[in-house]
């Protein structure tokens, strides 16, 4: 099983954050975990990250419905980051939405690897680990 170095979670729901962190520990998913409560915070945080000369996280779990800046707005701005700095970053959308319009819209962002419907399970995380290895 692959262990990721930097994992980023962008979600305003602290119960979800607690849960996914617990699952990370369970399946030994990642070392450093960055948490942002909305898109705006995430953009600012990641920008500071780059300015400090650090690499972007290799995997981002992104929620869609958040206050201040939602997942879509985050994606729009995030895509503007220079490709050379993207560092093979993969974005996974994690949402409770089953709106087909959301699923269609996701396809227009190549950076989005997959869509995971809440609740996230250990199996979901293990599947990501396996995929990344092969």
């Amino acid at each position: 099983m692959k262990k990721f170095n930097d994992v980023c979670i962008i979600d305003d729901d602290h119960i979800f954050i607690y849960g996914i962190k617990r699952l990370f520990k369970e399946v030994n998913f990642g070392n450093d975990i960055l948490v942002y409560l909305n898109g705006k915070e995430a953009l600012n945080g990641l920008r500071l990250h780059l300015e400090a000369g650090k690499k972007l996280p290799s995997i981002i779990f992104l929620d869609l419905n958040m206050p201040i800046m939602n997942g879509w707005d985050f994606l729009d701005d995030f895509c503007k980051i220079d490709a050379s700095e993207l560092n093979d970053t993969l974005v996974y959308i994690i949402s409770s939405s089953v709106d087909p319009r959301d699923l269609v819209r996701i396809k227009s962002y190549p950076i989005v690897k997959d869509y995971i419907l809440k609740p996230v399970t250990a199996n979901d995380l293990e599947a990501i680990q396996k995929e990344k290895v092969t």
Binding site: D13, I15, F16, Y18, G19, R22, N38, N65, P67, I68, M69, N70, D73, S95, S96, S97, V98, D99, K118, P119, V120
Partner: protein, 606 residues
């Protein structure tokens, strides 16, 4: 001497007269006779008459011979077909003259040109035949009947048919028609009363025909001795007339029952005529107006007069078919919707000469249409928002339920008591959030389609004051200044509970997102804008970045401030409530300057 006198008498006789001897040689003539003969250079005296008149007929010669042999005065009518001139009719009167009693010495021949009379007679005959007018006569003394050719034709009997009075009457249709003619004829015989009537006969071939029968009486010594008159086939005309009567009777009933008004505009005479239904449609009395145009202009809604007149002009020009609608205001103030159609009648040159049209009241349709449109509007909006709603419901419920299932999963496996306690806390939190979400959703569901029925006049100023009073503590806490510039008697058509909820929402919004840098100022003003009351609700708070959020500000669960209370459902409900009251809401804002909401609500005229 005597012969000379006679001779000179004949010379000046004011007719065409010629006197011949037994050998048919001319012995004298009137000047007129000579004048009518052309190409005569010498005196015709002594010449045979045949030399001078080359067009005498055989009948004429025969009559002359008979007359010389002792016949009576005879008249011969002769038709001359002159190839170059018109047909000429001559009437010859031939009479013998005697010198000694009994001895015929020759003939006096008088020529008379009767072309004019003859032509008139021919014309009359022709006219009678074309008009199918026949004649008849009943001699009451001999009890014989005479029918002319046309009369026989109308009865479809052979030309040699000779009827009697009873047979003649029996041609009339049994029943009303025969009874009528019987009584007319008997009255005529009894009292000498003439008649003129239209009745049906059944011809010899069984055909039913309408005829006009006229009868006159001839009275001798106070007794009617003869009946005579005309008999005309008026079947075609009568049937058209009856058909027309039937159609117009039907039309009259139809228009009366359906309250369709008919109007008739004669452009040549410049007159407009209305039937009685028209006045009914406009709720006015005929006698209250000097003319139809005046009645129309004073009844139609002032805004609709010009467009209707323009349509009329275009129709007269032939550019459109006249088909329009307008409102009329009844004397009691009621507004009715009138549909008007018309047809332009043109002369052979295409000039409009007349217009005929109809009006009817379609207020009921219009009302139904309005209601339907309104319903459709609400339904499609509702449908749209329901669609969003369903997804939002699913999203929000899911996010809580997934948390709950995740937490209970952890709880089942957790051994550490401290961690278990943390999980229980979170479980409580998640179930509370779920409950809160369900409450919000219930609020949204309560914005129903039948909201319109609950609308009533609401005093805006008092409603604002009421809401402000409820929030007095919170407003004071933030040191808020409220500037309310709303007329005290301004009425809006609204659902009172919704108005409270909307204003409460706007106030709490301003309170929640006030700027920490300055004391809060809320300004509310209202003014009339067309059919709406426009309410401005503005604050000097944090404001909203509209470039970023403009499109989603009234969506569900969208918040734009980093604020723990910001659940984002308030404006969604506000918008739904306003729209269900036929209103609109718009927002204008600048970050860190404040937000300004504009509400458009249904006005009520005081």
């Amino acid at each position: 001497m005597e012969s000379l006198v006679i001779s000179s008498f004949i010379k000046d006789y004011p007719a065409s007269v010629v006197i011949v001897n037994r050998e048919m040689q001319i012995i004298d003539h009137s000047k007129l006779w000579l004048k009518e003969l052309q190409n005569i250079t010498q005196s015709p005296i002594g010449h045979p008459i045949d030399d001078l008149i080359n067009h005498t007929s055989e009948e004429f010669s025969k009559c002359c011979e008979e007359c010389l042999l002792g016949g009576e005065i005879t008249k011969v009518i002769q038709k001359l077909n002159n190839p170059e001139e018109n047909t000429q009719w001559l009437e010859w009167t031939i009479s013998p003259w005697k010198e000694n009693p009994g001895k015929i010495k020759g003939l006096i021949i008088i020529k008379n040109d009767i072309t004019e009379t003859k032509k008139k007679e021919e014309l009359l005959l022709k006219a009678k035949s074309i008009a199918r007018i026949g004649g008849w006569e009943v001699d009451l003394v001999t009890n014989t009947i005479y029918w002319t050719q046309v009369t026989k034709e109308i009865h479809e009997v052979p030309m040699d048919f000779i009827p009697n009075l009873e047979e003649g009457i029996n041609f009339y249709k049994e029943g009303v028609d025969r009874n009528k003619i019987t009584s007319l004829v008997s009255d005529a015989i009894k009292d000498g009363v003439p008649w003129d009537t239209e009745l049906r006969i059944v011809t010899a071939k069984g055909k039913e025909l309408w005829v006009r029968a006229k009868g006159e009486v001839e009275i001798v010594d106070n007794t009617v001795v003869r009946l005579y008159g005309t008999f005309q086939d008026i079947d075609e005309k009568k049937r058209v007339e009856l058909k027309y009567e039937e159609v117009s009777d039907r039309l009259l009933i139809a228009t009366k029952v359906s309250s369709i008004g008919i109007w008739d505009y004669d452009m040549v005479e410049n007159t407009l005529v209305w039937d009685d239904n028209m006045y009914g449609l406009y709720g006015v009395k005929k006698e209250d107006f000097s003319g139809v145009v005046e009645a129309w202009e004073s009844s139609v809604h002032p805004e609709d007069i010009k467009p209707a007149q323009e349509k009329l002009e275009l129709a007269i020009k032939g550019e459109i078919e006249f088909n329009t609608e307008f409102r009329v205001i009844w004397p009691n103030g009621e507004i009715r919707y009138i549909k008007a159609i018309g047809h332009v009648i043109r002369d052979s040159k295409g000039n409009a000469v007349k217009m005929i049209g109809a009006n009817w009241d379609f207020s009921r349709d219009k009302k139904a249409e309005k209601k339907l449109k309104n319903l459709l509007d609400i339904t499609s909006k509702q449908n749209n928002s329901l669609m969003n709603f369903a997804h939002i419901v699913s999203h929000n419920l899911r996010s809580h339920s997934s948390n709950l299932s995740m937490l209970t999963g952890f709880f089942a496996e957790e051994k550490d008591n401290e961690e278990k306690e943390r999980l229980i806390k979170m479980l409580c939190e998640a179930s509370e959030s779920l409950d809160e979400t369900v409450q919000h959703l219930t609020e949204v569901v309560q914005v129903k389609t039948d909201a319109i029925d609950k609308m009533r006049p609401v005093n805006l100023y008092e409603t604002i004051l009421g809401v402000k009073k409820n929030l007095a503590v919170l407003l004071k806490e933030k040191n808020t200044t409220c500037k309310i510039d709303v007329s005290k008697n301004l009425q809006i058509n609204a659902i009172p509970a919704y108005m409270d909820s909307i204003l409460l929402n706007l106030f709490t919004n301003s309170l929640k997102y006030s700027s920490p840098k300055r004391p809060l100022i809320i300004e509310i003003s209202a003014q009339r804008k067309g059919p709406h009351i426009k309410v401005n609700f503005s604050d000097n708070g944090l404001g909203i970045d509209l470039d970023r959020h403009g499109g989603k500000i009234f969506g569900m669960y969208k918040t734009f401030h980093k604020h723990e209370d910001a659940k984002g459902i308030g404006l969604f409900i506000t918008k739904n409530q306003i729209e269900s009251m036929n209103g609109k809401i718009a927002v204008d804002s600048q970050v860190d300057k404040g937000a300004k909401f504009q509400l458009f609500l249904e006005a009520i005229d005081n």
